[in-house]
Symmetry: C2
Subunit: 328 residues, 2 copies
């Protein structure tokens, strides 16, 4: 089934079930009003939502309406955790190579993850609001999962059982703030403003055979200012699968229901497939010609991120954002 | 007023108002059931809670009962944000000096903060559960605030207006995991397990004149295995006040209601006042004699963290935790 949170003026939105083809939706009223509620009590509530989803997909839901992704908040408009990985090691290799940094051997066996802010997550069509273009505004097209409860010490394979929903993320980064921030030693902070998510979150079964071994074997399209800049494969080159990422978090603590875990920028060794973030394009330019040529995003720029299923249909709907200045 | 979240088998607990002397409590039923609800709608709900608090303090609340801190979850048992600072620059100086690292000039003007996990926050008397003693288990006695909504670009002074509640935190750290983790460059992750909070969160007016300039001018006591190891002053040496910490977060994004912001380990230049984390004691030993002598915490160890008001009474109740192995 596919779920979304419709804007209703509240902080958490109103839970809706969305049809497989993203054509229609139905309020989940009577079952649950907010997605977090469902994650808190998944075994009891999700079968009821599945029934509604089944009726909706067969045109039998009584109060269905046309689904409009512009009415969507993030599936979880605020979450108790947003932890993001760098699971596509090619991305890390490229960025480090461009700045002449060694690739530590441990990076191939131990996932790189950072703790992100989750108090303010953006809907798929919300503006990327930024105080200054000078911050180096970049998109990062990613795949993400939402988990149930996962116990401390859970293995990577077991952790896969904790995955409830899949979705897409635009982990917006402010590249010009990153070097100074990472030099301070405590990781990203101001350089990671609010992250945006796809209109819809889908249960793994919606992906059919494309969901395999904790990886999504589908292509992720990134369109910047109307031009396709990336069609990267999210599957085979994901060095650490989602179970491994979740197990990495759970090594020293519990992971609680409603935690969102990201893959990091989807990246492939074959440069012909393009890029899922501008930093990578600039890294390639630096490696090839000694300096980056492509600028970061400007006010008014647009970014569209989408993933098509094996049937050619959009799985999660598209993230479609515009960069905007902060209104003062 | 003082607020707490009582254990009731739910994920968020049941909101109670606690009397000023921490002697009695009263369910907030009829006003709000969860603390996050109050933070979401502060201007409407907090006056009603203030009325109840007033009645309780005057022995006129009809269904008051004896307050038991062991029944407390964290005031916010799960939060949408936990961002922790290193606002006592003396702590940073000590730790860096012990490992022969320079103190960057920017550290005196630009707060050092990290994004912590907030999906699983511990009650004041919950065990510190850890898979291994070898991880180097340490306490960190801190002051923290819970905010309302704060807009992007808010100044440090304005940000003070966004502070709703004050409380204490034990930001447990796994010291032996930190060097390798920070070397990866993305900040703390596995080295910061679940943080614990005081039984009670209090509105700033409860501190009287001790709450001044965004700092808490009171002493923070840390008692490790029954021995007082620290009685540090949380006031004058807080290099960055809470408004500055919140403004630091808000530089590139909104801060949403229910965000918890920590001060970092409370630390004073006068070593005679003791320490608020073992790492600092070990740093002093290293500076004095070339090597640390004090071990980190072992299973069975206890830590008690408390702050007394100008009237000598406990302001937030005590954090009293035991270190325990992970049950397999």
């Amino acid at each position: 089934m596919k779920l979304a949170s419709y804007k209703d003026g509240s902080r958490d939105g109103q839970l809706v079930v969305v049809s497989r083809d993203l054509g229609t939706a139905h309020y989940a009223t009577g079952i649950a009003t907010r997605l977090q509620q469902v994650l808190d009590d998944w075994n009891f509530l999700s079968p009821q939502l599945e029934d509604l989803s089944h009726a909706l997909n067969h045109g039998k839901a009584r109060h269905a309406f046309a689904f409009d992704p512009r009415q969507c908040m993030a599936p979880l408009p605020r979450a108790y955790q947003w932890a993001d990985g760098s699971a596509y090691i090619n991305h890390v290799e490229l960025v480090r190579k461009a700045r002449g940094a060694e690739m530590p051997e441990s990076f191939y066996t131990d996932p790189l993850m950072y703790q992100g802010a989750s108090d303010d997550l953006l809907g798929a069509c919300d503006d990327i609001v930024c105080p200054s273009e000078e911050f180096g505004i970049d998109f990062e097209s990613e795949v993400a999962v939402i988990t149930g409860d996962v116990a401390t010490g859970t293995s990577a394979d077991e952790a896969l059982e904790g995955i409830r929903l899949l979705l897409l993320a635009n982990d917006v980064s402010l590249r010009q703030l990153i070097p100074a921030e990472l030099a301070k030693g405590f990781g990203f902070f101001q350089s990671k403003p609010a992250t945006a998510f796809s209109p819809v979150a889908a249960t793994p079964d919606e992906l059919g055979g494309a969901w395999q071994g904790g990886r999504v074997h589908l292509k992720l399209e990134s369109v910047w200012n109307g031009k396709r800049v990336g069609l990267t494969d999210a599957g085979p080159e994901m060095t650490f699968h989602f179970g491994q990422l979740i197990a990495h978090i759970a090594k020293t603590r519990r992971v609680r229901a409603g935690s969102i875990v990201g893959s990091g920028t989807v990246s492939n060794k074959d440069w012909a497939r393009g890029y899922s973030c501008i930093a990578e394009k600039r890294a390639i330019e630096t490696i090839e010609s000694g300096a980056p040529k492509t600028d970061f995003m400007k006010f008014g720029d647009t970014i569209r991120i989408e993933m098509k299923g094996e049937d050619g249909m959009s799985v999660f709907g598209a993230i479609e954002q515009k960069v905007a200045p902060l209104a003062r």
